[in-house]
């Protein structure tokens, strides 16, 4: 792999190399986020490997959600945030491009901490992204809705009430619905921000298994506070603390041989 980025420190490249099998799906260099005096993200450099699950770990408030929001430019919504640096996907610098941001966001599916079903029916929630893309063909929409509801294991539960409001589903079902509607727009990368934190063990398991299943086709960035979940799923791990990346590497390296005290302390607290 040829790295055109000369600013990346040697040590980081070293740590990355063993675990990064595919080419990077997304590359962040010198990313900084400020909110007034508060330096939220401090000089972030990282690569997200393609078709792998990258787990983002770190104590609350260290900037994980902010990092995810940078990746699909949701930071644009907050005027107080000042974002500098570059984030490249397939050669495009998405942070500095003025190109089609909705299209960019469709390449980066976001699954948030709590499910946010749109105030429409179950069917329309899943069809939403496709309709925004301009798909009008009823049969195609119906096909896609069924396919993705099956993919998240929700089809059997909801096939009789597709026109019911999405808010009538249980929280666990809503979260799977949100995943289904995210998958329906065929993103390249899935940004999952603590997707199972509001779910019961069974629903969590369903989502976890699903992630393992779909990583063949998608690149996944997963934020989680559940260490055991991180161990079960991670192909690549990034540990953040107070806006900085402290360590990144393969799960073996980080979980077995943590180098920094901060990570060691975090792992001890988590077990």
């Amino acid at each position: 792999m040829k790295s055109p980025d000369i600013e990346m420190p040697e040590s980081v490249v070293e740590i990355l190399t063993p675990s990064v099998a595919g080419k990077p799906a997304l590359k962040i260099s010198n990313l900084n986020v400020h909110a007034g005096d508060h330096h939220i993200l401090k000089n972030i450099n990282l690569e997200i490997p393609e078709n792998r699950i990258t787990v983002l770990l770190g104590p609350s408030g260290c900037g994980k959600t902010t990092l995810l929001k940078c990746m699909n430019r949701l930071t644009d919504l907050y005027r107080e945030l000042e974002v500098t640096g570059t984030i490249t996907i397939g050669g495009d610098d998405i942070l500095n491009s003025t190109t089609d941001i909705p299209a960019l966001r469709q390449r980066m599916g976001l699954l948030s901490q709590r499910p946010y079903p749109l105030p429409v029916s179950i069917f329309k929630n899943v069809a939403y992204g496709l309709k925004l893309k301009g798909v009008r063909d009823k049969r195609l929409l119906a096909f896609s809705v069924e396919k993705h509801l099956r993919e998240v294991g929700l089809w059997e539960e909801v096939k009789g009430r597709l026109n019911a409001p999405a808010t009538s589903l249980s929280i666990g079902q809503q979260q799977r619905l949100c995943l289904a509607r995210g998958l329906a727009v065929k993103p390249a990368i899935i940004l999952a921000d603590e997707p199972t934190s509001a779910l019961d063990p069974t629903s969590s398991k369903i989502i976890e298994n699903l992630f393992r299943e779909i990583r063949k086709h998608y690149t996944i960035v997963l934020v989680t506070h559940v260490l055991r979940q991180a161990i079960r799923l991670a192909d690549h791990v990034i540990f953040m603390h107070d806006g900085e990346i402290i360590e990144q590497g393969s799960p073996g390296e980080l979980f077995e041989n943590a180098r920094s005290d901060k990570l060691r302390a975090y792992l001890i607290d988590g077990n």
Binding site: R105, G109, L118, P119, L132, P165, G182
Partner: protein
Amino acid sequence: MQFKRQIADRLNGSWMIISLSTILVLPLVIGVGLYIKAAPLLEDVSLFSLIFSSEWAPSAGEFGFRPFIAGSVHVTLLSFLFTAPVCLLAAIYLTQFSTRTLVKIMHPVIDVLAGLPSVIYGVWGILIIVPLVAGIAAFFGTASSGYSVLSGGIVLAVMCIPYTLNMLIEVFNTVPSGLKEASLSLGATRWEAVKHVVIRGNYPGIISAFGLGIAKAFGETIAVMMVVGNVVKVPGSPFDAAYPLPALIANNYGEMLSIPMYDSALMFAALLLLMIILFINLFFRYLIHKTKRQ
């Protein structure tokens, strides 16, 4: 101890029921009172002709309320026509697109506008809006003193804007930012996200804000009375003068009570006002109920 707590619980419960029933009974008491006072007129003249007749000659015993009802309806509808789009767009802009600084400036401005006594709006209407409307009428080739339905509608709209705007802002602020982010993440543009999440998701709230605004506009008295001209005639154009129901009551109560039935007629006007406002409220409740079920 347990016993004492139970007693306190009971007592508090009954106090709440008493205050609640007072609030519930109040409109009923007012309604019944007005009905009793209006009864002599209702015995004399049929309800149908009271509402649909345009003949207004109290000394001759002719009481047709149609001009007043029409006046109220025209002024209110016109004001709604101005208020609704302005408030909707302003509320969307303030809650979704504007900077924090602008919001911080706008909030006290809106509150001051909402708190101004209506007589001030009336004076402002006479000084600015009435001549303006007279000018507009001249431009369109109609003669008008400016004291007209249009002036009433504009003044009423300006009065209702802060009220309706505040309610809409409150409604739109309840939309969680995660919901907007979800819509954007699925590829919506800023405006599409607002349309799908902020507007469509809040139909019941928007309708109820508009409903309360209309009900308030319908009963507003002083400011409107100062600029609509108060001529007993069903208005034919926005430049015609009108005589809304509240103005009728406020202008005449306490005077000319020597005319037989006049007292009853004014009470009937008040009863009519109460009924119409009740009806507006029920209608909007029904709309909210219908949109909520979807």
